[in-house]
Symmetry: C2
Subunit: 560 residues, 2 copies
């Protein structure tokens, strides 16, 4: 047992990395297949990506979770630890996960590179600029905005209605004052004044497009389809109409290549792309996941928020777009989060509370039912926290047993891959023994409102869907524009199965209201907005930035 | 003779680069001293920067020019070609130059990596994201803005007057609609509404700070000194008051390391930093120049715009800050540009015109006098264009001879280093033979208005300076804030020696009006604004972006 708990950055900085060329060798890549970023990060070259396309595909395992709570679930930590566990039991494995946004890093302590002894490295770099992917996306996003406003300023040949520009600007920061702005002030030489707003970069459609593109050619095609405004005839205006899809592709040509790094235990990991899981689909890039599946026999990947958002979108959007069939799904739960779903406030989570825990099972149960309804094998992974009592853990394990769902306690935060070996072995067993009859819950040819209804009823367990007058009107327009055959991307509170974040556990008999639709034609989905969706976070009263610094050797201080 | 003229990108893409590790070896650096970015770009590690600090310094040669005209002077081309020429005659040489901004690249055809057979490579990468330095600066600039507005939103402990915030946001793009904006709209949850604006990243004070910092520690100190606003008592509020200099340094810790690349002829070049030459000092980073001087016997470096702006600032600001004494100055001139200074419109420049050329000498003459007044040896480099006639070239050479200034025709655009050997040899001769008694034209302890007056009279050849009421009031305030002992950074039209861009040649008897001062306390200078200074360019009617694309192998198309 450890006597003192080390912070994630302490553990990360004390870990010894191997040169990334060695890590690449493990999965059959040579130095020539890499574009190095220092000694411990690399992009995989276009030539290598083409070369491996014809190889057989490995098995993909999706990690998802119950509805997140402020108690924390540790989905990224399990993803990393599970990869290390596969590595330890001698399997050729790669991890495919999202890259973090700088905004939250500067705001609230906490990263997206795992935790404890289950982290991807170099965590400092990954959490700061990494290989510049997010900067390239910000730049492409804002170059498009500048080119659009310049088009209007220079005569507006496309007859763009400046009251109906839907393309927003972006920064990869939490900056609430940029949510609603007025631009173009100062007279005729400074452009045409209009309302505008900034999203955080990960909410840009370009991030979703980059993550769903199969290659550079598909990236350009998707970029050209993005709707940026409507003209005076109320017809959509696209990037292709503006003629700048080539320039945007040029700006993104490096960002689209997946980034290779390693875990603390030297398991190879592709960390690439990170779209929001509400306004977008919340999964790392298709290119990274498919590349990992060509290079390894097992791929551990994750999807954002709980199974109602992340897994649903992975299975309906990413899987369909990329032709991926996952072999099994891990649902991560913690005793603490289940107790919150059972009604315990955060301050009291350290106390044993079997009745609340038992009440909280309902949330886990719904997600198990959902994944089963997709025809996929499941294992429940309990992410151990220090405050969990044996009785609590046993109560959960027994409940899973009664529900006939394999479940296992994992200790990857404290023990790295060793703490996930049982989980890895259980997964191998269910993949071997259980039938996988994966199918989507809706047909892509279903109408948009039918697709929304199916998700609400089958995935959320809701009774019905209400569409606002605006949403109804949009459905008619979208039909005319030929957008009905696209996937649906739900933007809903991550905290509840319903659209009301205060309804924890397993709410029933609820109706979800779709306020508005947002077409993401480049990504290939229609976003259904339920309630307010925050696409530009704010900073807290004491931002994490206040404690950040660099020591005399150039190492990060206070990053986590 | 070539029968067809190749474009810069064609020449660049057909050149074969050597691995950057080989280039580094030429100047005594090993692979461990580098942080690779692919095979052909690298940052020099902190450890290496520390290791070389005690080495002897090589000789620094500054490349500047006459006042620029739309005809083009090719200062970067001469800088690169001269480096290659030193290399060809067996000298250990490094080039130190600025890195380009993406904004102009997307706007108007033309890069900042030299031209013809005198280019730094890989030009595509350098002109796009390069090693991410500009993205880091944009991010630090905007993180500071977000932290500042968040401070106000969260109670405004520092009592910042939101009408007097001087810190602007930044994008590395030409985006005129962001010049004047209103932010924080939408109600109390979206922050405090106020006027704001965006500069292009290269105009951010952080760019100037990064370029003048001697190391990471000095970078943090300079960042902490930057004035971002005034409080209700009209006192300056700094980054240090906000307590975020550590976070900004963390964001910039990689960007501050110089970038090593190579020329077409494999001469090592450090391409690092690129501040505006009007609102800032327009030179590559001090760290890059000093690093080059430790690694090589000769350093070829340049400064932005003409000698009245770039060289004056190099000699008064950068040299003083870094303790640099240049050995000699190259003044670049072209026959075409001199004819424009002599009154010929751009459309008629291809015709021989000896009288106009002779009239245009006056501009060159003033710059020669200025550099001589700094006590520095000079060589005039004539950058040859295809349309120059022998008689024009001879007329210029004879005039220089009469003026007793060494001058030489260079053909580096067409011939690479070979076309600059005569220039290199002439430089070696003047360094050897001529006395160098370098001294600044003003004392740093002179008052700000005296410093401005000295620059206007001795460097521009003007009669006097007028200060607006606002500027006069600021001079009194700055005295109170203790800012009088800083250098002066002139923001003036680059096209004329005066503050009137239409006055070409050598205007006399003019008065320069200082409209306003802008304190750049982190950089260590007070900017004197004469006339309107554009810190956010716009895009033209047909931006270069419209012709950009990527081919099926991922190579840039239409970049230049």
């Amino acid at each position: 047992m450890k006597t003192t708990v080390k912070s994630d950055i302490e553990i990360a900085q004390k870990s010894t990395m191997k040169p990334i060329v060695e890590i690449a060798n493990k999965v059959g890549l040579g130095e020539d297949d890499l574009e190095l970023f220092g000694k411990y990060k690399a992009k995989i070259s276009n030539e290598a990506l083409v070369k491996i396309k014809t190889k057989d595909s490995g098995k993909i395992i999706l990690v998802t979770s119950i509805n997140p709570t402020p108690a924390g679930e540790g989905k990224s930590t399990i993803t990393v630890g599970l990869g290390d566990a596969f590595n330890r039991i001698g399997k050729k494995v790669m991890i495919a996960m999202r890259e973090p946004s700088l905004g939250p890093t500067m705001g609230i302590k906490g990263g997206a590179t795992g935790g404890g002894y289950s982290q991807v490295l170099p965590m400092e770099d990954i959490n700061l600029h990494f290989t510049g992917d997010l900067h390239a996306i910000t730049t492409a996003n804002n170059a498009l905005a500048a080119l659009l406003d310049n088009h209007i300023q220079q005569g507006n040949e496309l007859q763009i209605d400046q009251r109906q520009i839907v393309w927003k600007r972006a920064v990869d920061l939490n900056d609430r004052v940029l949510r609603k702005v007025i631009i173009g002030l100062g007279g005729p030489l400074q452009g045409v004044p209009r309302e505008d707003g900034f999203d955080i970069t990960v909410a840009s459609e370009i991030m979703a497009v980059l993550c769903l593109a199969s290659d550079l050619k598909d990236l350009k095609l998707r970029l050209s389809r993005m709707v940026i405004a409507y003209n005076y005839k109320k017809e959509p205006v696209t990037v292709g109409d503006l003629g700048v899809e080539g320039a945007l592709t040029l700006i993104l040509k490096e960002a689209v290549k997946p980034n290779l790094v390693q875990t603390i235990e030297h398991t190879p990991a592709l960390v690439h792309g990170g779209p929001f899981a509400n306004i977008a689909h919340g999964c790392n890039s298709v290119i990274a996941t498919l590349t990992a599946s060509k290079l390894a026999d097992y791929v551990i990947t994750e999807a954002g928020f709980g199974a109602d958002l992340g897994a649903e979108k992975f299975l309906h959007i990413k899987s369909r777009s990329a032709g991926i069939k996952p072999e099994a799904v891990v649902i991560v739960a913690t005793i603490r989060a289940l107790k919150m779903h059972g009604g315990v406030p955060k301050a009291e989570l350290s106390q044993e509370n079997i009745p609340a825990l038992t009440l909280g099972f309902a949330n886990l149960q719904k997600h198990i039912e959902t994944i089963k309804s997709f025809g996929l094998p499941i294992v429940v992974a309990i992410n151990k926290f220090i405050t969990d009592t044996d009785q609590e853990v046993n109560t959960l394990l027994e409940w899973c047993n009664r529900e006939n769902v394999p479940a296992v306690l994992t200790e990857v935060w404290e023990k790295g891959g060793e703490g996930g070996i049982e989980l890895a072995e259980m997964l191998l067993k269910v993949i071997e023994e259980e039938e996988n009859k994966f199918y989507p819950l809706y047909d892509i040819s279903d109408s948009i409102d039918k697709k929304v209804r199916i998700i609400v009823q089958k995935v959320y367990g809701g009774k019905d869907v209400e569409f606002s007058q605006k949403a109804k009107k949009q459905l008619i327009e979208f039909e005319q524009f030929g957008w009905s055959n696209l996937a649906v991307c739900m933007a809903k509170s991550q905290y509840s199965l319903s659209d009301d974040p205060t309804k924890l556990g397993r709410p029933v008999d609820f109706t979800v209201t779709v306020r508005e639709f947002k077409p993401s034609i480049g990504a290939g989905f229609i976003v259904a907005l339920t309630g307010e969706v925050m696409t530009m976070p704010g900073l807290p009263k004491k931002p994490a930035a206040l404690n950040m610094d660099v020591d005399e050797n150039g190492n990060a201080i206070g990053l986590f």
